[in-house]
């Protein structure tokens, strides 16, 4: 079943928590706790030495994972056996894709059971080769849209993205912010006007209130740095799971109220 269909089938505001693969010895515990806490998909970061689109928290997490010896193939091997009932969406930088070559990389994802792929430094114009390889391997290549994306291009992104469209909520890097950017909702609506792919808003969402606000105009949210901050500060799967649960509840409650 395609990633997009699996997401649509949830029939609720979508919640995609993020974790950096290999961040701790028992990091796969986070995947289980996310699933149990009601995640609709999980973004799995494959750590890169030079994460140019990430803020300080995810940089720190990437460095920590790499310092522990994390590698793409090690991480993929660890998830291969897992039986999660939520789809995994890998996210990484293009250099790690090129390391194996696009086809081999996508095949490895597929083999490990990964459903989708996000490559933040691969814009539309450069995405052709990987899009083909991903399609051939049965992995959905998710494209990103940003507040600065002009309309015709937004249309093209919505059209060529698979699984969902990753809407970057603000002009900036990943990381917690005090308030959701003005630009977030507007972008989500603009994307929805030009296509019918689900739209997940990410970057800077950390509180239940922000999640609720974002989900009002998008189909769901991605929460990354807020989770990694907790993990870096020592929170285990249960603690982080509890946090994801509060996000889940806030989103569900809001939907209920609106109904």
């Amino acid at each position: 079943m395609s990633l997009e269909k699996r997401l649509r089938d949830r029939g609720r505001k979508l919640l995609m928590p993020y974790v950096t693969g290999g961040i701790t010895d028992d990091w796969t515990g986070y995947l289980r706790s996310f699933a149990a806490a009601g995640a609709d998909a999980i973004e799995l970061g494959l750590p890169f030495s030079d994460p140019t689109l990430d803020g300080a928290t995810i940089q720190e997490a990437s460095d920590a994972a790499l310092a522990r010896g994390a590698t793409v193939h090690g991480i993929l091997a660890e998830i291969e056996g897992l039986d999660l009932d939520v789809p995994l969406v890998a996210s990484t930088y293009y250099n790690l894709v090129l390391r194996d070559g696009t086809s081999a990389f996508c095949a490895a994802l597929r083999q490990a059971g990964v459903a989708g792929l996000i490559v933040p430094d691969l814009p539309l114009e450069e995405a052709g080769e990987l899009a083909d390889a991903a399609a051939a391997a049965g992995v959905d290549l998710v494209l990103l849209a940003s507040p600065s994306t002009p309309p015709p291009r937004l249309y093209e992104i919505a059209r060529r993205s698979r699984g969902f469209v990753y809407a970057v909520s603000r002009m900036g890097t990943t990381g917690e912010r005090a308030a959701l950017a003005e630009s977030a909702g507007a972008l989500a609506e603009r994307i929805k006007q030009v296509g019918d792919r689900p739209v997940l808003l990410g970057f800077g969402i950390s509180t239940p209130e922000q999640a609720v606000e974002a989900a009002r105009r998008a189909d769901g949210v991605v929460v990354g740095a807020a989770i990694m901050r907790r993990i870096l500060d020592g929170a285990g799967p249960d603690d982080v799971g509890a946090y994801v649960t509060t996000l889940r509840r806030a989103l569900d409650q809001e939907s209920d109220e609106r109904r």
Partner: protein
């Protein structure tokens, strides 16, 4: 050779591998540059700045004593004589003018040795712009005086404490910062790296080196064109600018890298900082830290055009060791009264080695670009000589 650069690609290299949030900004820069370069007013303003502020044309200086020792004829293209002390200013003034044309009020830049940062601080002061320069914490320590020079010029210097805390991380941080400031700020990349149009644009702003040298060689040499054209390669801008003047001649082009920062010589295909090229990386695809005595060559990648010229066989890339570099710097100082930047000393070092090994035929004519002066390296050299 057709100029592929205009299309944003050099064979399989180049491109614009940036976050979606920077795509529009890069496109704006590209459009503005295309417009500017065909605007005679822009060219004239830049030409005036280069003549009156930078001191161009820079001389082509014969090096009779070292030439005699090596048995070849050396000519030095003197970028060390430019205002601020390296070729970086050629590119910076071009981009700073472009930024004002685009209505931007602030320049963002990364810097390693600090020469690009000083050039940016200078260009910003000259044109009444603000400047924010990112610099790895390790480089902030190693190049303390350049840090102060930038501040003296009114620039804000932001130390970068992540990763290897050198140029690579400063570049990442500058890009991150740009994402949040594309409206008012212009990212002034310091070498022929980064997303399209930077590798092309920076080479075009640096081709003044090669164009001048071509004309000067025609005056200085019976053969009009030298047998060899040699330049050091960090990101590759002084080499690209130099080669641009000779790529359509029979001259052999040689780019000299640091042993510990040899992107062109030992890198593998990859993508970083917005472009596809050759990068030093480990077996897992993680980017390696570069190590060179010359902070300006401490970069794990190389500009896409160099990767392309290498594949074509049109240019050759070689490496020299830190020891050879120090010896070459001292030798040039003692024979010609010129203390080169350690970056530039890489080019000298290879010529010394190649002449000694008979790789350069006796009597060969060799143009070397001296990309900068050695003042900034005195404290490093002091420990070693």
């Amino acid at each position: 050779m057709k100029d592929l650069a205009e299309r944003g690609r050099f064979g399989d290299y180049g491109g614009r591998y940036v976050p979606e949030s920077l795509v529009a900004a890069c496109a704006e820069v590209e459009d503005a540059f295309r417009e500017a370069r065909s605007d005679p007013g822009f060219r004239e303003r830049l030409g005036t700045l280069l003549a009156l502020h930078v001191g161009r044309p820079t001389p082509l200086t014969p090096a009779p004593r070292l030439s005699a020792e090596l048995g070849v004829t050396l000519l030095l293209k003197r970028e060390d004589l430019t205002h601020t002390g390296s070729h970086k200013i050629n590119n910076v003034l071009g981009q700073a003018l472009l930024a004002t044309r685009m209505g931007r009020t602030r320049l963002i830049a990364e810097t390693g040795a600090g020469m690009h940062g000083v050039a940016v601080a200078t260009g910003a002061a000259l044109l009444g712009l603000r400047a924010t320069v990112f610099m790895g914490e390790r480089d902030v320590e190693r190049q303390a005086l350049n840090v102060f020079r930038m501040r003296m010029l009114g620039a804000e210097v932001v130390p970068v404490g992540v990763g290897s805390r050198t140029l690579k991380d400063a570049t990442s941080e500058a890009m991150r910062h740009w994402v949040g400031a594309t409206g008012e700020a212009y990212y002034c990349v310091g070498s022929v790296i980064g997303p399209t149009p930077y590798p092309w644009m920076v080479r075009e702003f640096q081709r003044v080196i090669g164009d001048e040298a071509r004309g000067q060689c025609a005056e200085a040499l019976a053969s009009a064109v030298p047998d060899y054209v040699v330049a050091c390669v960090g990101g590759g801008s002084n080499a690209a600018g130099t080669f641009a003047g000779f790529v359509d001649t029979a001259a052999r082009l040689v780019g000299v890298e640091a042993e510990g920062g040899a992107g062109a010589s030992r890198g593998r295909l990859g993508v970083l900082h917005g472009f596809r090229s050759l990068f030093l990386q480990d077996e897992h695809g993680q980017i390696s830290e570069a190590h060179s005595i010359a902070a300006g060559l401490d970069y794990p990648g190389v500009g896409p055009e160099h990767a392309y010229l290498r594949d074509l066989g049109r240019a050759r890339y070689v490496t020299v060791s830190d020891e050879e570099v120090v010896a070459a710097a001292v030798r040039l100082a003692r024979t010609e009264g010129i203390v080169p930047a350690l970056e530039s000393a890489h080019a000298i070092a290879w010529v010394i080695r190649a002449a000694g090994a008979g790789e350069l035929p006796p009597g060969a004519t060799v143009l070397i670009t001296l990309s900068g002066r050695g003042d900034k390296d005195m404290s490093t050299l002091k420990e070693l000589v």
